[in-house]
């Protein structure tokens, strides 16, 4: 990993997962997804729109806070990012709290935000949680903010395509309702993933390494995207890329 850092790998991976989207949005406190989306846009030849929450230059929403949700329901939003304090093996996510008895949980997080809706409607939801530990990746979430796909015939055009962490990329197999370990990031191992994951997942005999960003991508990211994301996330851009806003 001499020639790129962890953040750059995640950003480049996200950009690859967004390939072919027409419209991608990112939510609050999402510098890595935001940079990934801007990178994907830069490589789309003008075919992709990106809406970065909190940006001035890259935010076209002008119909109030409900517009992002309406966009999703209209089928216009191809991809979005969700995380969770807990994520389980059926792709249920929990943004509310853990332990105790709801609503008096032992740990309380801010709340579900838009997850209970966007997770059902956006076709390409990328679960993104940097921390990959058994505290986060649990057998069963304590509270379901948004349910993994049930395949019960109910209206569900959206759902997770997979889960990206500091260690790996799991694809989500919707038919089997299970994660599949697809790639492990450079410098990490399948054993490390297994040791730090509390849920069962499918693991092929041979798990390739997550693709490393090529030099052209790194140049684009560092020269152009870094300045674009600095408009919304100046501290992140300064810390990771050493740049300020364009």
């Amino acid at each position: 990993m001499a020639d790129f850092n962890r953040h750059e790998l995640l950003i480049a991976t996200i950009a690859r997962l967004l390939d072919g989207c027409r419209l991608v949005a990112t939510g609050a406190a999402s510098p890595i997804p935001g940079a990934g989306a801007l990178l994907a846009r830069a490589r789309s030849g003008g075919r992709m729109r990106v809406n970065v929450l909190g940006s001035i230059r890259n935010d076209f929403l002008c119909d109030g806070g409900v517009e992002l949700f309406d966009l999703a329901a209209q089928g216009r939003l191809d991809a979005f990012f969700l995380g969770g304090g807990q994520i389980d093996g059926q792709a249920n996510i929990n943004l509310v709290g853990a332990g105790g008895s709801y609503p008096q949980t032992d740990v309380r997080w801010p709340g579900s935000f838009g997850s209970g809706y966007l997770y059902y409607l956006v076709p390409r939801v990328i679960l993104f949680r940097e921390e990959h530990t058994r505290r986060v990746m649990v057998p069963k979430v304590d509270f379901v903010s948004a349910a993994g796909p049930a395949n019960d015939g109910t209206y569900r055009p959206g759902g997770p395509i997979g889960l990206l962490t500091n260690l790996c990329w799991f694809a989500f197999d919707r038919a089997r309702r299970r994660f599949v370990l697809e790639t492990v990031h450079p410098g990490h191992s399948v054993e490390e993933v297994r040791d730090n994951t509390g849920f069962d997942f499918d693991c092929p005999d041979d798990v390739p390494e997550t693709a490393r960003p090529d030099p052209a991508t790194l140049t684009l990211l560092r020269d152009t995207i870094a300045r674009e994301i600095a408009e919304t996330y100046p501290r992140f851009a300064a810390q990771i890329f050493g740049v300020s806003a364009a």
């Binding site: 002008c62 409900v66 309380r108 801010p110 015939g153």
Partner: protein, 269 residues
Amino acid sequence: MDVDQLAGLIPDGAKIAVPPDYSGVAIEATRAIIRRGIRGLHLVCVPVSGLQADMLIGAGCVATLETSAVSLGEYGTAPRFVAGLKGRAFRMMDATCPAIHAAIQAAGKGLPFMPLRGLLGSDLLASRPDWKVMDNPFAEAADPIVLLPAIRPDIALFHAPYADRNGNVFIGRRRELVAMAHAATTALVTVEEIRDVDLLGAEETAAGTLAGAYIGGIAVAPRGAWPLNLWNIYAHDETHMRQYAEMARTDEGFTAYLDRFVHRAAAAE
């Protein structure tokens, strides 16, 4: 009308709708509410809140909290929210953002309910006995869909850059403020200033205006969102937000915060 008089229009037990931090939050009015010792509020965050909800909870003003999240954002956990929840200080109604928007819009349209996609199989739905599931009568196969009862606030409370001479308020593209005001019995608004203009007189400004017909009271409160930001007109006060996040971690610290920044600051004026 000054901010304390505006706060005086809020009775104990009122259902109050408030906007998210980025829309313009009436924090000066929040301090006035705390000073008046208003109790039993049903606070509806449209769709989330931060400092405002945390302060009102900490000061004991809130009996019911309906929200999709409470967070201080980059300043971390909302400490009084978490402590209050643990101490059963209020009734919690967890939601998801578009559900609150939809229920507010239902009230603005005089509808008893609004349908919403999503939510199926979640504990959000399981924990809300006031939400119902029906089968979509327009579908040929089974198609369950959630129905949300309208949220009809007594009061919508927010802060905006300015009002015009006729009592109309500029809200720009923050249309959740329009939705809140339409849904509520009346809107109480603090503004940075009153300008001697007619917002409805030009197409550009009319498009971003909440008409006075929806507004029951306006008070001038310069920097009335402080220590939060107001749109991109002024930034949030980072030092103060860190100080709040630190002091509010304990009951004693929060009491000291109120004493210093809510009670004593007003007394010194």
